[in-house]
């Protein structure tokens, strides 16, 4: 079946603008995760959902970052008042159950000018 998909694949924005990044998980996966990856580093956890609710948002760097998953499937990561330091690849992953391996999407490369 289809893997995790993310849109857009690339997003260029200006400092101070608002952006939304979308993630479509593998069908039937109940858990969904957002990570952020900077060049030369491993992915860094942001938030995870079990169903519709954010079970752990401890990785969100500040209140400019917010994510939703209203129907327990597609998720949107929202970033307000973007800063140049927000530039990174934003990865989404999903899994069937909490202990199982996470399957990653291709990522959205965000560039804040």
């Amino acid at each position: 079946g289809a893997g995790v998909s993310q849109t857009p694949s690339n997003k260029v924005t200006e400092k101070g603008k608002y952006v939304e990044l979308r993630c479509d998980p593998i069908s039937g996966h109940t858990a969904l995760y957002w990570y952020r990856q900077s060049l030369g580093q491993g992915p860094e956890f942001l938030i995870y959902f079990q169903g519709t609710g954010a079970a752990d948002d401890s990785g969100l760097p500040n209140d400019r970052f917010f994510a939703v998953r209203p129907e327990g499937s597609v998720s949107t990561l929202k970033i307000q008042r973007t800063e140049r330091g927000d530039s990174a690849v934003y990865l989404c992953a999903s899994s069937f159950a909490l202990l199982n391996e996470q399957f990653f999407g291709p990522g959205t490369r965000l560039t804040v000018l």
Binding site: Y33, G42, P43, F45, A55, D56, E101, P106
Partner: protein, 110 residues
């Protein structure tokens, strides 16, 4: 706080030259150790999950092993298509997210 350290940062091998990548970890209650492969411009691709010390898993030219403090990814007779960044991650305690190392960038020369 969970910590994952991978070494070396970069490794260049000749085709057929076997070697090992190291992943050292410090966690409070390991639930699983994961190996991923990441090609440039792509998301991480799942390779293995190891759950307890002494466990081993194999896939083609790759074998992953686990002790109480570290994991090794052994690459036997590598080919140029094995070139990628290999990431190690842990899941621990009550936390559900993965904590990743910085990865080992492997280059296999023909």
């Amino acid at each position: 706080e969970d910590q994952v350290t991978q070494s070396p940062e970069a490794l260049r091998l000749q085709e057929g030259e076997s070697s090992s990548l190291n992943c050292s970890y410090t966690v409070s209650g390991l639930r699983g150790l994961f190996w991923y492969r990441q090609d440039p411009g792509k998301g991480p691709e799942f390779l293995f999950t190891l759950y307890s010390a002494g466990e081993e898993k194999e896939k083609e030219r790759l074998k992953a092993t686990l002790t109480k403090k570290e994991s090794f990814l052994h690459i036997t007779a590598p080919k140029p298509e094995d070139s990628a960044t290999y990431l190690c991650a842990v899941e621990s305690g009550s936390a559900r997210q993965l904590t990743f190392g910085s990865g080992t960038q492997l280059t296999v020369l023909p």
